[in-house]
Amino acid sequence: MSTSIIRRAEAGTTEAAWVRYTLIGISLTFLFLFLVLPLAAVFAEALRKGFDAYWQALKEPDAWSAISLTLITALIAVPLNLVFGIAAAWCIAKYEFKGKSVLTTLVDLPFSVSPVVAGLVYVLMFGAQGWFGPWLQAHDLKVIFAVPGIVLATIFVTFPFIARELIPLMQAQGNEEEQAAIVLGATGWQTFWYVTLPNIKWGLIYGVILCNARAMGEFGAVSVVSGHIRGQTNTMPLHVEILYNEYQSVAAFAVASLLALLALVTLLIKSVAEWRHEREMKAIRDLPPENTQAASSTLPVKAAS
């Protein structure tokens, strides 16, 4: 093919160099101001009085109990939402049934409910004046202002993350491979384990780490149900708030820096998962022609979250 034709066609679909550089410059400046600076500020503020002060703030017993409560919460909430996410994605992506679009919308619902409202509904269910309040009190159980309430609120807020990630991915991949496995005599579990799971693993990993980041970082919903009892019902974000409001800026930012690190690790894993996924897709695309049928059904998988 003649290169001049390609060059002319390409010139028609791009901008003059000065326009390109201006646009790149504006958007990088914007991202620097709104993303990089806030991130850098967390670490700068945390280390303002040196490493010793930073370390002292993290060694606090209250900080430790906040860290462990956050880890426990995520350890319960993420696996529960993982099982739900896979089940929901399986039935929504693999089958046609009445009311499917309603179900999909309902799965998305927690995304658009304000975290504060999410916390409030659990107070109305389990609080002293709530539906189950008297029963819980009679049996000496505590949900609100205790760990179960925090876990429940976290599950609500992170509810759609994994399902949202998997549904478009599994829809794009279609059913052919699973049907082939079933026809060849595989059981349902074998089909899921050996056929579906390898196809969705990168989306699954991304969904899980994003769900985890939100579970550990949730503030609004947890703040309503926690009661802010130091050393008992304070998660890391709530501990950050208390320290900040007590003008213990370095300590607040020290705990916040751990959460910021978590966010950075999340982004890193996400990028690696995406790159690996793209590489696998490219490998499928480069297969000999007789295999392109299988490849084409798995191509358009880069889903918007």
């Binding site: 679909t13 806030p38 503020e45 089940a87 039935c91 089958y95 982004l267 990028s271």
Partner: protein, 288 residues
């Protein structure tokens, strides 16, 4: 085990649509979990609201302080979402169309507001914009105050909403067919005409979806806003904070009433977003 026996029956009756096993068990589990975690708790809110008389409800949701908070929350979310439409489109465009050093890092960084806990974003933006902060110290002599007033709320919501616009527009731009642009150029269109008449209409549904998502998120946002807002009644008090304030005074009825209003708004926004996404899919002709 269970899934195999569940599969056998429908496969015989309704082949080939349900060859795959597990429909009943996954649908049943999905519905149960959805009811337990989301639907029953949300219905508790609605039922609690019905225990109020209409006058009580109306008084709680239209008090002057509450009305001021609606105006603020709505206005700030709207401005922030509009800013995000402009810059989100720009960032998506630059990431899809141009090559530059560090592009992969920038691309990954766009998701930061999804991953960074809102409270951390809140205190960090406050530290930046306060009078002695990195940015605030240069703005204060000029008479510009961005923290502890409604300006701060808008900035926090821009931070929170940015990835929604970028991540909805980006895949559509990636899939856009270059042939259409080439045809436009060959027919004598200038680059700006090609953009405004060919490219923009094809990404408009995605852009609107991103706008609606950023706006919906802004309406409900709490963690990042309360640190930077200053939280002055009538001036910089957002609606979620009103709910918290009523709860702290044990005014459960009032909190429920305001929360119901917010829930209705989020329902409406959710339906709008769903409609936009359907429109977008139909426009792009994708089967999904």
């Amino acid at each position: 085990m269970l899934s195999r026996s569940a599969a056998a029956a429908p496969a015989k009756r309704r082949a080939p649509a349900r060859v795959l096993p597990g429909f009943k068990i996954t649908l049943g589990y999905t519905l149960m979990y959805l009811c337990l975690i989301v639907l029953i708790p949300l219905s508790a809110l609605v039922f609690k609201t019905f225990t109020l008389t209409w006058d009580q409800f109306w008084a709680a949701v239209t008090g002057p302080r509450v009305m001021a908070s609606y105006r603020l929350t709505f206005g700030a979310s709207l401005i922030a979402a509009l800013v995000n439409v402009v810059f989100g489109l720009l960032v998506a465009w630059v990431l899809v169309r141009y090559q530059f050093f560090g592009k992969k890092v920038v691309d990954a960084l766009v998701d930061l507001p999804f991953a960074l806990p809102t409270a951390v974003a809140g205190i960090s933006l406050t530290a930046l914009l306060a009078g002695n902060g990195w940015v605030g110290q240069y703005l204060e002599p000029l008479g510009i105050q961005l923290a502890f007033n409604p300006n701060g709320i808008v900035i926090a919501l821009i931070f929170i909403g940015l990835p929604f616009v970028v991540r909805t527009v980006q895949p559509v731009l990636e899939d856009a067919e270059k042939e259409l642009e080439e045809a436009a150029t060959c027919l004598g269109a200038s680059r700006w005409q090609t953009f405004s008449k060919v490219i923009f209409p094809s990404i408009a549904p995605a852009l609107l979806t991103g706008f609606a998502m950023a706006f919906a998120r802004g309406m409900g946002e709490y963690g990042s806003v309360i640190f930077i807002a200053g939280n002055m009644p009538m001036i910089s008090e957002i609606t979620p904070l009103i709910i918290i304030g009523k709860l702290e005074q044990y005014d459960y009825a009032g909190a429920t009433a305001v929360a119901t209003v917010m829930l209705v708004i989020s329902f409406i926004l959710l339906l709008v977003i769903n409609g936009l996404q359907t429109w977008q899919r139909r426009r792009s002709g994708a089967p999904v």
